[in-house]
Symmetry: C2
Subunit: 559 residues, 2 copies
């Protein structure tokens, strides 16, 4: 690792490459589908009785020792032949304007990623989104890819799969013994899963978000006026997926936002999510009152053409919900929620996101950008958890889900936030009921407010629980939450903490092959095969370093 791929000029010049210690990238071609190469990370085990362990691997070509990384060229277009065959319309695309990059002058302008891509748009009369294909009974290559990716060791675990599922508790999920492409299609057709996959993101290695699949983890990155630039942001993406992040949200604001995003998407093997209202706000000088539908719509098209895979849209913050937050301990803490509440109150009008929701759907459908319906009224403290404002918005998100589905769009729903343990289950149950089993995507939740500096842990507890109860993707929280910008170590700590939460949830839900890695590591531990123990762990570098720092002594290894 830590070799670098050099680049000229102001462009990013280094990213972390090479495999994680003790493992290598392998690709598997599903039978009958030689054009599909599904990546796994294979961890060698020194014990002759134990086969190598294959683990889910969202890290893309960066951890492939054979891959040649060229950030200016972007990643290989693994989806190109599939998308090509779908007959989408070739388009010129919107012209980039100075305000897309925050009006930065030529001397401080970061050059866009030079990688050239064919730009496409769906047609009204033919299926575009994975949901539309699924409903039409068509199994896409993305669905085949995802099915193979999700199975991991399930082929070997099949004989015990039914017992594993029956012995666990999935709270009404429908986890299959084996994931077939047809199963994926059905889950997508039902709206219970999504494959965020913009038709203009050909570099994407498809993945699924849904409660009958493995629990996924999102990591947030983003530049800011006071801190990081291009090099740091692309490396944050590479770094976060190296440790297991399944999707990345780019929350950048400020200057060069459009061009930095081009570098991120062209070099991302995972879905990229954004909050378009952030950029729209930049375009109107930072004043929420000046936001208009036209600026917002333009931003949606701009980002959709770039290849963003999902948009957080805070269309559930309605004018009539805002007064419900008046008596809260922490009011409205979501940035998107605050922006829209401010707009609604200033104009005393219904939110244009809510009123124009049909049009938003039409735009997003054209590129298969999935919805992540934002919880703008999520609680910012445990005192505000499960209150009237939060649940009123959730009901609205349920209405919007059905509209988006009718328009052919894929949908997931964002959830809180800060919720004490005894109120977590109700969030999940209410989301399933209101939103007809559309995937839930939660931030934590944090189970107490008293530990700033440790909110990866306060929220890791809640994340594991809500993941078990049925949440499909967990948005990570870093140790710097509430306090400052996460650095490289914080990003890693956040991702690893959330991989723990997601995996604990997979085990408790009874995913048939989830325990294979635990058992292999435990056997290695019991037999004092230290290297195997390190290599099988989520973070071999840290495990090895801790072990090497002191000699182990039995009395202290009490667990």
């Amino acid at each position: 690792m830590n070799t670098s791929a050099p680049l000229p000029g102001s462009a990013p010049d280094t990213v972390t490459t090479g495999p994680i210690g003790g493992s290598k990238k392998v690709y598997v071609e599903p039978t009958l589908h030689p054009s599909i190469r599904v990546p796994f990370r294979e961890i060698a085990v020194t014990d002759a009785q134990t086969p190598a362990i294959r683990v889910y691997d969202p890290s893309g070509p960066y951890t492939d020792s054979e891959a040649r990384i060229d950030l200016a060229a972007g990643l290989p277009l693994v989806r190109e032949p599939w998308v090509q065959a779908r007959g989408f319309q070739a388009i010129e695309g919107r012209t980039v304007r100075p305000e897309d990059n925050g009006g930065v002058g030529p001397d401080r302008l970061v050059a866009p990623c030079p990688a050239r891509r064919r730009l496409r748009m769906g047609r009204p009369e033919a299926p575009v989104t994975q949901l539309e294909f699924a409903r039409a009974g068509i199994i896409t290559e993305e669905m085949i890819y995802v099915a193979h990716r999700e199975n991991l060791g399930r082929a070997e675990a099949l004989k015990d799969a039914s017992a594993t599922i029956a012995g666990a508790e999935s709270f009404g999920a429908a986890i299959p013994a084996f994931v077939t492409p047809e199963f994926v299609r059905q889950e997508i057709a039902l709206g219970r899963a999504i494959i965020p996959a913009n038709i203009n993101h050909g570099e994407l290695e498809p993945m699924a978000i849904g409660r009958n699949f493995l629990v996924k983890v999102n990591a947030n990155i983003g530049n800011s006026a006071i801190s990081s630039g291009v090099a740091e942001e692309v490396e944050k993406l590479v770094w976060a997926i190296r440790w297991g992040a399944d999707t990345i949200m780019d929350l950048s604001t400020g200057r060069n936002i459009h061009n930095i995003r081009s570098w991120i998407i062209r070099n991302s093997p995972v879905p990229i999510g954004t909050v378009p209202i952030y950029q729209a706000l930049e375009k109107v000088g930072g004043d929420p009152v000046k936001l208009t539908w036209e600026v917002f719509k333009d931003t949606l098209i701009e980002q959709a053409e770039q290849g963003v895979d999902y948009f957080t849209i805070h269309a559930g913050v309605r004018l009539r919900h805002v007064p419900l937050t008046a008596k809260r301990v922490t009011g409205i803490v979501s940035r998107g929620g605050s922006i829209m509440a401010r707009w609604c109150l200033a104009h005393h009008k219904e939110s244009f996101l809510y009123q124009r929701f049909d049009e938003i759907c039409d735009i997003m459908r054209r590129y298969d950008v999935a919805f992540s319906l934002g919880d703008g009224l999520r609680p910012g403290s445990i005192a505000d958890a499960n209150d009237e404002a939060q649940f009123a918005e959730l009901e609205t998100l349920g209405e919007l889900t059905k509209i988006a589905w009718a328009k052919g769009c894929q949908v997931m729903i964002e959830g809180p936030g800060h919720v004490p343990m005894h109120k977590i289950k109700l969030n999940m149950d209410k989301q399933l009921a209101c939103c007809a089993e559309a995937p839930f995507y939660t931030l934590g939740p944090l189970t107490t407010d008293i530990a700033p500096g440790y909110d990866h842990i306060t929220s890791g507890i809640g994340a594991a629980m809500i993941g078990w109860f049925g949440t499909a993707m967990l948005c990570y929280v870093t140790p710097k939450e509430h306090l400052g910008l996460p650095d490289r170590n914080d990003v890693k700590t956040g991702v690893i903490t959330y991989k723990i939460a997601a995996h604990a949830a997979d085990l408790a839900k009874g995913h048939p092959a989830a325990q294979v890695r635990d058992d292999a590591l435990s056997r290695a531990r019991f037999e004092f095969r230290w290297d195997d123990q390190f290599n099988l762990s989520l973070d071999p570098d840290t495990a090895r370093a801790y072990h090497d720092a002191t000699l182990p002594k039995d009395a202290h290894k009490v667990a």
Copy 2:
């Protein structure tokens, strides 16, 4: 903080003293009981609307800026007048032998703590233990102390207490709106709570362990041949209680063990627990097969006279249980469990701990040393969770609980270990049923095996859940678990993680005043009163440092 109290020679020469930033020690004298001074930590808040917040404070005089710390003299004997009045027998005590300190030569012998104490032993015919007093209808000073300590802000929260309790979920616990000394007496009389308080530990600030009280946290310390000595061990105690550890287990082995323990107990305001079989094993040269009842009995008396407040006794590991572990992934991982299993198999005899359990009770009763009935067959991997071996031992612990109660001894029960989320509740339910609601004291549990280096987190998830379900005390796990010896930072990280778990559990159980601190911190956060936010947090130093490392930017404070 970080001032030091110097001492001569090989004795500990520095410990951390002074209040945690933004707070001060206060003492409250319960009405009618001027001899009782209950300590709290009071955190000032700059907002005029918010009164200072009082938090539970196990840190003892070390955080009292008025206290003069003299390690050679030991802490003030806060319990002396109470114990004095009980008419116990004065004894000479057992003579210290070379093997008590591992046979170390005079050149390497650590001097014992010079503090002199009156040594006492209970009489057969009169009550000695808190359980015996409670059953006799006598409210001890320890019970009054504990009642006031547990209430915290409950007097102010009283009007909402019933609603808070009703709105939460305590799984059958009986949390009172207000804790009276009589309530404490009843809980102890029923065996549902204990106050570990050896009559020879006069320095102790009494605390209760029981599911109708606040969830407590234990931290392990211990020297070892290869690492720390006296100075480091006493400081580890002071450091762990500074951050909130409610009891300390001294797992020392090797040389100078007796004398180091004298320094620890004489300077500990919290209960000290030990695993006497560790020292007994040292006395027979480290070979489990050579263990005898006589050596073990002698060790119990030695440690009881020193003032140890609770003993882990692995009397549930019976000969017939050992074969049940044969097919496990990780066999027997408890050190005490392994020692006893080895003894049973080598002699092909029933464990002497089980066979002599009556006599053990008689010894422990004389000093009011509480039982912590060890789970020697706890699972060392999630694959082994809730198996026949584990539950067979738990049933035996239930039998032993009733014997110990009949003998007048206080009892808690140790629990696992490694348990996936969906199997945690059953552990709690089975413990309550088998052990007639004796307090449960669990290590974690770790909810997955794949994250060495992060096992404070894998286990913090399980700890929060099992604490919510009814566990009374959580034994911490540090980031070095399975890998090496915890250092100062690891101890702090372990304690803070477990304070998070315990507090999350208190909130979910509906402890009437638990949320006061969360709400005060959340209001400070919402109003950008940064210093209040830091001071109200579990670790003000880290929160402040993280904040100062980068400037906060709204887009990144998404929770």
